[in-house]
Amino acid sequence: MDPVLLKLAVGGLAVLGCIGLFFGVGLALAAHKFAVKSNPMVEEVLEVLAGAQ
């Protein structure tokens, strides 16, 4: 395979991987910081209730 293309592919994977990791960590931190306490019972009740929608 052409080494230029190979370099492009590997470079692309690395760059996009870094961007993805960066934003992923950012989102995770944001979710942690802006976490909203929700009542766990709400989900339990929803689980029990019937409802296709």
């Binding site: 492009l8 470079g11 692309g12 760059v15 996009l16 961007i19 993805g20 934003f23 950012g26 989102l27 944001a30 979710a31 802006f34 976490a35 909203v36």
Partner: protein, 322 residues
């Protein structure tokens, strides 16, 4: 504990400052020695230098090459070059009239000032800037309204235009997310994808960025303003499924817009969608009360309405503001 918090805040400020700085730098890609370049009359381009340039260099036509930015292989022919007596400004006259709506690229070779070589420069020449920005904004908002002239984003358009209140909520959320994701994708395209020659991946990256910004707005809004979050409801997530929000970054990348132009296009697209939703919802609220034949009830009549709106928006087509 306190120091950790301040350090973290400082780091956040640093990142924000860096982001703003790179945006500002990205706007002014002009070469330092050239202070201004603008169209002058129907055939002229005037360049203002920061210092006096040598007459012999300035009068040499081989030192300048001008082309429309979209046609880099067609050079415009230069008829004459005149230098102002103070040697700070050069006016290039072309053989034919310039299409002033298009951005022109002007390459200047080896500027000589007071016997010193100041290097080469490539500048973009554009029409009066504020007017140009306004024409991008109005163009995206009304003249080339994404919904009524390009038929993009129809699913969300028909889905959320039943009531005025939801239409306005959707329009505002959409505008916010649009601006955020368009600016991010502009930044990423200009400073990451282009330098690494990954522009063929733009669609994948832009889709990721859109979902990222929607998720971020969702997370932050849930905590910061729960009332607004409740009001937006499902529409916030629906923004992901909108075509306009992916079309705008692609248009930005295609046209090589700079930061402010991108902002204007994104804002125009968002506000245009808001206008479209508002108009449609006002009519659909009235249609509810009208006597529509049973076959046309609901979505079919809405599509006919959309067609009528598109027809009336055709009246704006081809308009140019400045």
């Amino acid at each position: 504990m306190l120091t950790v918090a301040t350090a973290r805040r400082n780091a956040l400020y640093c990142v924000a400052a860096f982001f703003m700085l790179s945006l500002v730098l990205g706007c002014g890609k002009e070469y330092r020695f050239i202070k201004a370049a603008s169209f002058k009359g129907p055939r002229g381009i005037s360049i203002t230098f920061a210092g006096p340039v040598d007459e012999k260099w300035a009068k040499d036509q081989a030192n300048y090459s001008i082309n429309e930015k979209t046609d880099p292989d067609i050079y415009l022919r230069i008829a004459a070059i005149s230098l102002r007596p103070d040697r700070l400004s050069v006016t290039i006259t072309l053989e034919e009239d310039i299409n002033q709506k298009a951005t022109h690229t002007l390459a200047i070779k080896g500027i000589v000032s007071e016997g010193r070589n100041m290097g080469s420069a490539i500048v973009d020449v554009k029409k009066f800037y504020l007017g140009y920005l306004l024409s991008i904004l109005m163009g995206a908002m009304i003249i080339n309204n994404f919904v009524f002239t390009k038929y993009l984003g129809l699913c969300v358009f028909f889905g959320t235009s039943q009531k005025k209140s939801t239409a306005i909520g959707m329009g505002i959320t959409f505008t916010i997310v649009m601006v955020a994701s368009a600016m991010m994708s502009w930044f990423l395209y200009q400073f990451v994808l282009k330098p690494f020659r990954l522009d063929f991946l733009q669609i994948v990256v832009f889709i990721g960025l859109v979902s990222l910004s929607v998720q971020a707005v969702d997370t932050i809004l849930r905590k910061v303003n729960p009332v607004l979050f409740k009001a937006f409801g499902v529409y916030l997530v629906l923004v992901i499924a909108n075509c306009i929000i992916i079309a705008v970054p692609l248009i930005l990348a295609d046209n090589e817009y700079n930061a402010i132009e991108s902002l204007m296009l994104a804002l125009g697209a968002g506000l245009g969608f808001l206008i479209a939703l508002f108009l449609m919802s006002s009519v659909r609220e009235r249609i509810e009360l009208a006597d529509v034949p049973p076959t046309f009830k609901g979505l079919p009549i809405a599509f006919i309405l959309g067609g009528l709106f598109a027809l009336s928006f055709m009246g704006f087509s081809g308009m140019s503001l400045f």
